[in-house]
């Protein structure tokens, strides 16, 4: 089990953003769904070891992340695309990804090759020399994905990776997701149910700081038969949310 979270509590000021959350994930692509404010980004940030839990245990890749050594180990094997991608506008795309590879302690000799490959996988090779500030929203997102995968991570966390991608890029991205899911545990937070339906093997549905459903994409689709919504996955999503709230 790559991700094992038990009774996770994260509080912000007085309110509990995550409230006794349990989650276990293994290799494959998992979609993290839920309404705005459900705690998706908070959960991703805890798993990225950026945010400290107020309670509960978080074990990633077999390591306890409340211990520094465990955290360092996980961080070497981690890929993380934050919702807001921080970057230096003056860097070129290649410099940005190189810099991140360096921060993730990719062996120096392997950095150029790893950077080339990451850029190729997100189809940004042609823009490798462009400054970050000149990139469009979709390209920035892809540069963010490139830095996330540059260390060939075992645990990949992507917060809204498809934001700003056009339909063609979305399709390309889903293909990439499937490839990545073959060797790593990938958690994709998204508000687009259709992203999950076609590329994810598993679905985690979050509402009000708790996990209200885990299962396969097919199970999600089957959960909403006869309900409202445009697609089977959407119907399942709505039905499950409604069920959790009553």
């Amino acid at each position: 089990m790559t991700v094992r979270v038990e009774d996770l509590v994260v509080a912000y000021r007085r309110s509990r953003v995550l409230d006794g959350l349990d989650l276990s994930l293994d290799r494959g692509v998992h979609g993290l769904l839920g309404p705005n404010g459900a705690g998706k980004t908070t959960l991703v940030r805890v798993l990225a070891t950026v945010l400290q839990a107020a309670g509960g245990t978080v074990r990633l890749l077999g390591q306890d992340v409340s211990v520094r050594e465990g955290r360092t180990h996980v961080r070497r094997r981690l890929g993380y695309l934050p919702q807001q991608l921080g970057y230096f506008p003056g860097f070129t795309v290649r410099e940005f990804v190189e810099y991140m590879a360096w921060l993730k302690e990719v062996p120096a000799a392997r950095v150029p090759g790893a950077v080339d490959e990451a850029l190729e996988r997100v189809d940004l090779t042609a823009r490798a020399g462009s400054r970050m500030r000149t990139l469009s929203g979709g390209m920035l997102r892809r540069a963010g994905i490139a830095q996330a995968i540059v260390n060939d991570p075992d645990l990949l966390l992507l917060d809204e990776p498809t934001a700003g991608l056009d339909p063609e890029q979305r399709v390309g991205f889903r293909t990439l997701l499937r490839e990545l899911g073959a060797s790593a545990t990938v958690l994709v937070s998204t508000h687009l149910v259709e992203d999950v339906a076609s590329a994810c093997t598993g679905v985690v549905l979050l509402d009000a700081g708790r996990v209200v459903f885990t299962g396969s994409a097919e199970e999600l689709a089957a959960a909403g038969e006869g309900g409202e919504g445009d697609t089977a996955s959407e119907r399942g999503y709505l039905a499950l949310l409604r069920g959790a709230r009553t």
């Binding site: 070891t49 180990h73 921080g86 410099e95 921060l103």
Partner: protein
């Protein structure tokens, strides 16, 4: 593969395209599997082209050694910050040149500049990449020390020039600068970086700025014997920082 091998003559003939089809095919199929013949045929190719491509290939294997430098750079330390530092230094210089009888202003202001740089360089919301940085295994202590060093490197030389021009002894302000930066870093193991730098600035206000405003005589923090005390504070704080470095994590990450 059996007894069939390329000879130096046949390698040269292959390179010059003088072999008949069957011999050429045999050569090509054979060198895929025989290291010795591969070397032999390779030696017959144009050495100038090979050297050229070799250099370009090896160039791609070089590692980026610029990582360290990049770490020290944060968006806050761009042109705006440099301009602000320059402005403060020119202002201080003017003050001290116009009125040489008072306590030199450079002594009072100089120790605050590195603190300001540190706060701006690492505070939440300023360093947009802090979130990513916190998710990587790179040591936060290393990041902070590198940034503090960069801030000092940029602000100390011009201040040195000013203090030489106004004959204010450089050790009088260099020592408190180091002491305050070290104090701020040590406090960061417990407090948020902007709070920690604020607290260090508060210490300076209490010990130097306040007394200087109230009385004519130099405050104790700037007395001739003070540099030793500041240096001692810096040493203690650095030791504390190293001991408590476990607690330095996720600096500058919004909660």
């Amino acid at each position: 593969m059996s007894g069939w091998h390329v000879t130096p003559e046949s390698a040269a003939a292959y390179a010059a395209d003088r072999l008949d089809e069957v011999e050429a095919w045999s050569t090509e199929a054979h060198v895929e599997r025989c290291g010795a013949c591969a070397s032999l045929v390779s030696a017959a190719a144009d050495p100038a082209i090979l050297a050229d491509v070799r250099a370009r290939v090896l160039e791609r294997t070089r590692s980026p050694a610029r990582g360290f430098v990049r770490l020290t750079v944060t968006p806050a330390m761009g042109l705006a910050w440099l301009a602000a530092v320059a402005g403060v230094i020119v202002g201080v210089l003017l003050l001290d040149v116009l009125d040489a009888t008072r306590l030199p202003a450079v002594l009072l202001v100089a120790p605050l500049l590195p603190l300001l740089g540190l706060a701006l360089g690492c505070a939440p919301g300023v360093d947009a990449s802090a979130e990513l940085l916190a998710s990587t295994p790179v040591s936060t202590l290393r990041v902070l020390l590198l940034r503090a060093a960069a801030v000092l490197l940029i602000s100390v030389p011009p201040l040195l020039v000013v203090s030489l021009l106004t004959s204010a002894g450089p050790f009088l302000w260099l020592a408190p600068s180091a002491g305050l930066v070290a104090l701020a870093l040590a406090l960061t193991t417990r407090l948020r970086v902007e709070v920690a730098t604020g607290a260090a600035a508060g210490v300076w206000a209490l010990l130097a700025l306040g007394p200087a405003a109230l009385q004519e005589a130099p405050p104790p923090a700037l007395a001739p014997g003070a540099p030793a005390a500041w240096a001692a504070l810096a040493a203690v704080c650095v030791a504390l920082l190293v001991v408590r470095r476990e607690h330095l994590d996720r600096v500058g990450v919004p909660r």
